[in-house]
Amino acid sequence: MGPYPESEVQGLLLSSYRRWRFATYLFLRLQTSDKKSVHRWLARMVARTTFGEASYEKRRDAKLNIAITATGLSALGVSDAALETFAPAFREGMTSERRKRILGDDDESAPPWNWGQGEQHVDFVLLLFHKTEAGHSEQVDAELREAESADLRLVYRVPLQALPSSKTEMHEPFGFADGISQPVFDGLTDAEGIGEETARLHRVEVGEFILGYKNAYGEETSIPRLSDSRDADPFGKNGSYLVLRQLQQDIAGFWNYFRAEASRSKGALEVERLAAKAMGRWRNGSPISEYPDGPGPHHADAPRENDFSFARVDPRGDRCPLGAHIRRANPRDSFPGERETILEQVNHHRLLRRGRAYGERIEDATHFADDHGERGLMFACLNGNIERQFEFVHHSWCNNPNFRDLQGEVDPVIGSQPSGGGSHSLQHWPLRQKLSGIQRFITVRGGAYFFLPGRAGLIQLASLHQA
């Protein structure tokens, strides 16, 4: 049991809905001055929204979660003074000059986007999940009808790839097992009976993800409010900030690059190894720091394999390069210093990830010939402090050109590479090797910061103007 009432928390915080294989995200915008219809729509939404993980919820075939942007709150009549109680990044939105710089959304990744900016700005997102394909398409149609009746405009719709039905791992479109490393906090089923090492590596305070509880600094995160009245329950309690980014992946470009580098090395380096040196894991999810010679057991067969850390087996990056994707996005105990302290500090920057792939599925990503279809990852993460968690990981680690005092290189997989191509050092004895000419493999196609309210918050939102 966590310190929070599960029935007050939207389900997405507690589960990634692995068995609800079919999913679609609908991005909506208010377009009427008649807010009554929108409030009615929100009021009816409360009953359809998935909260907690109560047993009756588990049996439900459909899941729905809803989140709102700062422009959405404004459009519903929330005052500027009340908006000031929200995190600055949320208020500012993802596409301000400042935020674009923090996130590296320049060149091809700069807006205009499919959604989230300018003419395509969004107020709400509906996240729809279903166990069956037919059921899902009915679910989407029904929600679209409801939205239309409330005069909400559909700005964009992203159908997600159906998750594999078997127990096999989720793979992101480049072909790597994904979503493996997740933080755990009190109240999650994952948090039960975890070992000491798992706890050290992955356990964080609830307040890092659910507002109103103790965070990693032992403080209660400030809770946003909808009105100046101090008496009312704060709107943000049991809520969370949701980050969504539609990341188009250049699958052919990614594998062609590593093939070219492998052939340039005249057989000294194999394609798979080079890609693993960039990612930090083999395609099946096994960490290269633990399995330097070739893929280890498949992640799904050895879930505890995620309790690995770097300091003891690979302090200098000879196995997993210091700048590899997973060693930037979650450095674990990689930084020099006292291990417990380092882990505690690194865990001030954890993300609860809920990403799913979109676009047509590819069987063999490694030999994919570009068909100019749009594919990629609908990145989603939840966090209590956008600046300290999501933006920090992106900015101070992944896109930091001097991370670990490397010089002038960013994350080889998701980094915003300079236009002339970037580099990636592979530490090695006696001398490092260096990949160069790395292009951007990821282009941002949409994105926004949302607030995912708790049950009471959603009800408050729906009744905003009846008071």
Partner: protein, 421 residues
């Protein structure tokens, strides 16, 4: 061995009249001076080899506004200020346009600048004795070695560490770097021996002047008790993010890897707080001179130059810093590494999160602390860094790379040296 250069700092505080015209005048004068943008800035900072960093900040507020021009340089301040103020020089016209907006300006420019210089205050330097020229040359050396290795990856494959190093030495010798590389300036005395001298000196003085020591301890104890009384009366504020100052200062951040920060806070009322503040600053200053002089300040490894200054005649604390990477990371390091030092300084200023006995609490209240820091910031109007892509760690690595290039090294040391690349 070459003698290390002596770095210095200036903080020119020019008073302004509280009027819209003054501000407008300055806005016009400062417009378009932007060394980060490549299109011909009006002040060519690169003309001055001895310049590490400089910045111009307009401090406005309810009290009398002023203009801060701060810089970190090699050599004497007077020499530098006379150079930039030289009527025949490149900067004279620009600087004059700026200072003509200030209260009581009358030429000559150099005298005005010198008259208003308030020095370095409590000053932190990551690497004492390293000149901007050496730093940039060492960076060039690294780039040349790296590019040599990248071009010759096939040649170096399969070689032993000494063989790889010999190839690098040969290439660098051919480029004419040997004499320079062998002549690294000697590290200043306190950087080499401060960690012995400092504590030894402290113990010696404490014992030799035992009555004074005891009296000081009693005074500190009493002061802390009084501080605790005052702390209980401090109010706890809601986290307030003031939108405008935040936007104003953030807008310019992160255009380069390094960043600049200027924070201005009001010192709390009464006689005790200023005294405690000055004492804390003195302790921090001494800790830096004797201990934290190898690239980190109390565990914060990302500061190149920083200073605290209390402008003459004002109850304000001005903090100026040139640091690596994001503000979010910088502030995170503050909280995680150096909260005791931070608290003992900023707890004496208005709006800081509540402390207990000066050093506890405070910055641990992460959100309030960051909001306090953001809200205290003033936009840096003009900022120049002579090596804006390099981290403090890079500077340290580059120096080791240069020092080790032609030195006699043991096999282990050769391994370590090659790891710098």
């Amino acid at each position: 061995m070459l003698q290390a250069v002596r770095q210095n700092a200036f903080t020119i505080v020019a008073p302004l009249t509280l009027s819209a015209e003054t501000i407008e005048c300055l806005e016009r004068a400062l417009l378009d001076i932007d060394p980060v943008l490549t299109k011909s800035p009006r002040l060519q900072f690169t003309d001055f080899d001895e310049l590490h960093y400089c910045a111009l900040i307009l401090v406005t507020g309810p009290k009398a506004p002023y203009l801060v021009f701060e810089g970190n340089i090699d050599g004497e301040v007077e020499t530098f200020l006379r150079r930039i103020a030289d009527p025949k020089g490149l900067w004279h016209t620009q600087l004059e346009t700026i200072y003509q907006c200030c209260q009581g300006y009358g030429g000559p420019l150099a005298e005005y600048l010198l008259r208003h210089d308030q020095g370095a205050g409590t000053w932190y330097v990551a690497f004492r004795g390293r000149s901007a020229v050496e730093i940039r040359k060492e960076d060039e050396l690294r780039r040349e070695i790296e590019s040599f290795l990248d071009r010759n990856a096939v040649v170096t494959a399969g070689l032993t560490p000494p063989e790889v190093r010999a190839l690098i030495q040969h290439a660098m010798r051919q480029l004419g770097h040997e004499t320079w590389a062998r002549n690294a300036p000697r590290k200043p005395f306190l950087v080499r021996y401060g960690r012995f001298v400092g504590p030894a000196l402290a113990i010696f003085l404490a014992v030799a002047l035992l009555p004074v020591t005891l009296a000081l301890l009693v005074a500190v104890g009493l002061a802390l008790l009084r501080v605790r009384q005052l702390e209980r009366r401090d109010s706890v504020k809601e986290v307030q993010w003031q939108t405008e100052p935040i936007k104003d200062s953030e807008v310019r951040e992160d255009r380069t890897f390094q960043n600049h920060m200027c924070s201005v806070t009001e010192i709390k009322s009464g006689w005790l707080r200023p005294l405690v503040l000055r004492t804390s600053l003195t302790v921090v200053g001494l800790a830096h001179r004797f201990w934290f002089n190898r690239g980190d300040l109390g565990g914060i490894p990302t500061i190149h130059f920083a200073r605290w200054i209390i402008p003459a005649g004002r109850r304000q604390l001005v903090f100026l810093s040139n640091f690596d990477g994001s503000w979010e990371r910088y502030l995170g390091d503050f909280i995680e590494q150096a909260s005791v030092g931070l608290n003992s300084i900023w707890a004496n200023t208005e709006g800081y999160p509540r402390t207990q006995y000066l050093v506890n609490g405070g910055a641990d209240d992460e959100e309030r602390f960051k909001a306090f820091a953001r809200n205290s910031m003033r936009r840096t109007r003009v900022w120049y860094s002579a090596y804006r892509d390099l981290s403090v760690g890079n500077l340290a690595d580059n120096a080791k790379l240069r020092e080790g290039l032609f030195e006699d090294l043991s096999p282990d040391e050769v391994d370590h040296w090659l790891r710098l690349l």
